[in-house]
């Protein structure tokens, strides 16, 4: 795995998609199981469901003081509104990831590093679209090296209801395998997984 000093990640979509949970799992994987420092903050409106929301994760080798993410290196978009709202914040040279079926990307917005996955469709095929966030985490783990895949799996097992553990690990593996396929297709050997 390539080492880095600090990475800023934003997950964004609408309330009910597990956006905050995705950030929580990534942060937990880094902080507890990968022994790095991590913070996860969240943004949402007064609505319980349906409004735009985001979770912001910082993973660092050092103590994190300012926990807000202004210009992420990785932006994960799971709704059109979230994409429109956040695309301008993506750092130059950053990675854009989106749900193929839920977000229409303007060609002029597509950065050099851009990946998409029909995460919600895959989750539906696995039984419930509620696991789209976990599919996305699996995909993220294949295309960007933030934490060890094992750490992510342990964080998922630590976070989901016991009866859904197998399904969630399946969802994670589905996303991860698809990610590996995408990477191979792009012939970018430096992105090969750990």
């Amino acid at each position: 795995m390539k080492t880095f000093k600090e990475k800023h990640i934003i997950f964004t979509g609408f309330g009910g998609q597990g956006i905050v949970m995705a950030g929580d799992i990534l942060g937990k994987a880094a902080s507890i199981f990968d022994h790095k420092f991590a913070t996860m903050t969240q943004n949402y409106g007064p609505e319980a469901r349906g409004g735009a929301c985001s979770s912001q994760v910082i993973i660092s080798l050092e103590e994190i003081l300012f926990p807000c993410v202004e210009n992420p290196e990785i932006l994960v978009c799971m709704s059109q509104e979230a994409y429109s709202k956040n695309i301008k914040s993506l750092r130059d040279g950053g990675t854009l990831i989106w749900d193929t079926d839920l977000v229409h990307i303007r060609k002029t917005d597509i950065p050099e590093k851009a990946y998409n996955i029909p995460a919600t469709r895959f989750a539906e095929e696995l039984g419930t679209k509620m696991m789209a966030n976990i599919v996305m985490l699996g995909f993220l783990s294949a295309v960007e090296h933030l934490v060890h895949a094992d750490a992510l799996k342990r964080a998922i097992l630590d976070s989901v209801p016991p009866s859904t553990k197998d399904n969630n690990i399946n969802a994670f593996n589905t996303g991860r395998e698809y990610g590996h396929t995408v990477i191979k297709g792009l012939e970018q050997p430096e992105h090969v997984t750990d």
């Binding site: 420092f37 991590a38 996860m40 003081l65 300012f66 926990p67 807000c68």
Partner: protein, 386 residues
């Protein structure tokens, strides 16, 4: 399954969850509240955890009733708390005063959001600092703590219970939305490593016991309902027996004692974390989430060769008056970042007595203060004097 009182281990908790676990580790077994963003996760977590530990969680009709139930529970002999934000904190004010007057140990966690009124329910502010100080009517002293991380939320909630039990008053935790909603590593120690202080109990006979007669340390031992001692609890001005005394003398004696038990123990109550302070000529005084931005700015300034230092206020009330007074003649400037129009900075200015300039770096809420703004203020402070 046997539920654990203390979740010893490493967690990735948000501040609200950490507050809940701190309360349980401190021995809290009663919570009455009304969920409100951004404090909801405290109520949510503790509503799950308390019943499995044999405790009681009640969702009340509003925050006035919540605070009243907490006082009642404490007199019933259990450690009790509530949590709230913005409008709910305003509603609790009258009964917080009742808690002060009746010397009732309890903890109130206010996870601050933007105000006034309904304001910004999901966004950060530090606008209730002065409300925590004197939001209830009459003259009194209060203790308030300001956590700057989920780990602080755990640690300070335990300390809040300890202080409330030791000094017999409501202790306020002044958190904020970012601390409440931010997840970070929280290390929960072993149960035997956690210091727990319980309220002083009477040692005299039933006949001799006076429920509001202080011992040498200024604190009156507390018999609770069912202990077998005769007690009388009233918000009216009362004497050592707890009986109303409607005259200036009784008022003077009672209020004097409520004030003195805190003022005379300031050195034991006040805690600050002093970083890079020894040779500092520009000192940032900060609390809560703003203390993190301040530390970043101090480190950035140090990298530029500027002698900046930080006083992180862990207790905001009482204010560390003596520390500020002693530093004021030695430093070039004080800077205070806070997410309000300038509240604690008034106290800072008062304590410097004009000995050096004091600068406020602030916004009215909705976002936290960027370290860059504090760093610019440090640059200005250095230029201003040289």
């Amino acid at each position: 399954m046997f539920a654990k009182e203390v979740l010893t281990g490493i967690h990735f908790f948000n501040g609200d969850q950490a507050c809940c676990e701190g309360a349980l580790a401190a021995g809290c077994r009663f919570f009455a509240g009304y969920p409100i963003t951004p404090a909801t996760e405290i109520a949510e977590s503790i509503s799950r955890r308390l019943p499995e530990l044999g405790g009681i969680y009640i969702q009340m009709e509003d925050e006035i009733a919540s605070m009243a139930a907490v006082l009642g529970a404490s007199w019933g002999g259990v450690k009790a708390m509530t949590s709230t934000s913005g409008p709910g904190f305003s509603l609790m004010m009258e009964n917080i005063g009742l808690g002060v007057c009746t010397e009732t140990p309890c903890v109130v966690c206010n996870v601050q959001r933007g105000g006034p009124s309904t304001g910004l329910p999901t966004l950060v502010a530090q606008g209730d600092m002065m409300q925590a100080r004197w939001g209830s009517h009459g003259h009194y002293e209060i203790i308030a703590l300001a956590p700057a991380s989920p780990q602080d939320m755990f640690d300070f909630t335990i300390r809040a219970f300890n202080l409330s039990e030791q000094y017999r008053l409501p202790v306020i935790i002044l958190a904020d939305e970012v601390i409440g909603h931010m997840n970070e590593r929280v290390i929960i120690p072993r149960e035997d490593e956690i210091e727990i202080i319980n309220r002083p109990k009477p040692t005299v006979s039933r006949e001799e016991y006076l429920p509001y007669k202080a011992e040498a340390d200024g604190i009156a031992p507390m018999a609770t309902c069912g202990d077998g001692y005769r007690i009388h609890i009233t918000g009216l001005t009362h004497d050592e027996r707890g009986y109303p005394g409607m005259d200036a003398k009784t008022q003077d004696q009672m209020v004097n004692r409520l004030v003195a038990k805190i003022r005379n123990n300031r050195d034991k109550i006040i805690k600050t974390k002093n970083l890079y302070l020894d040779d500092a000529n520009v000192v940032i005084v900060a609390y809560g989430i703003s203390a993190r931005s301040a530390l970043q700015a101090v480190r950035d300034a140090r990298n530029e060769g500027i002698k900046a230092g930080l006083i992180k206020l862990e207790t905001v009330w009482p204010f560390p008056e003596e520390l500020i007074r002693s530093l004021a003649p030695q430093v070039k400037a004080f800077i205070m970042p806070e997410i309000n129009g300038g509240q604690m900075v008034l106290e800072l200015e008062r304590c410097t007595g004009g000995a050096c300039p004091v600068t406020l770096v602030s916004n009215f809420g909705g976002s936290i203060i960027h370290p860059g703004l504090i760093l610019s203020s440090i640059h200005k402070a250095i230029k201003g004097k040289s």
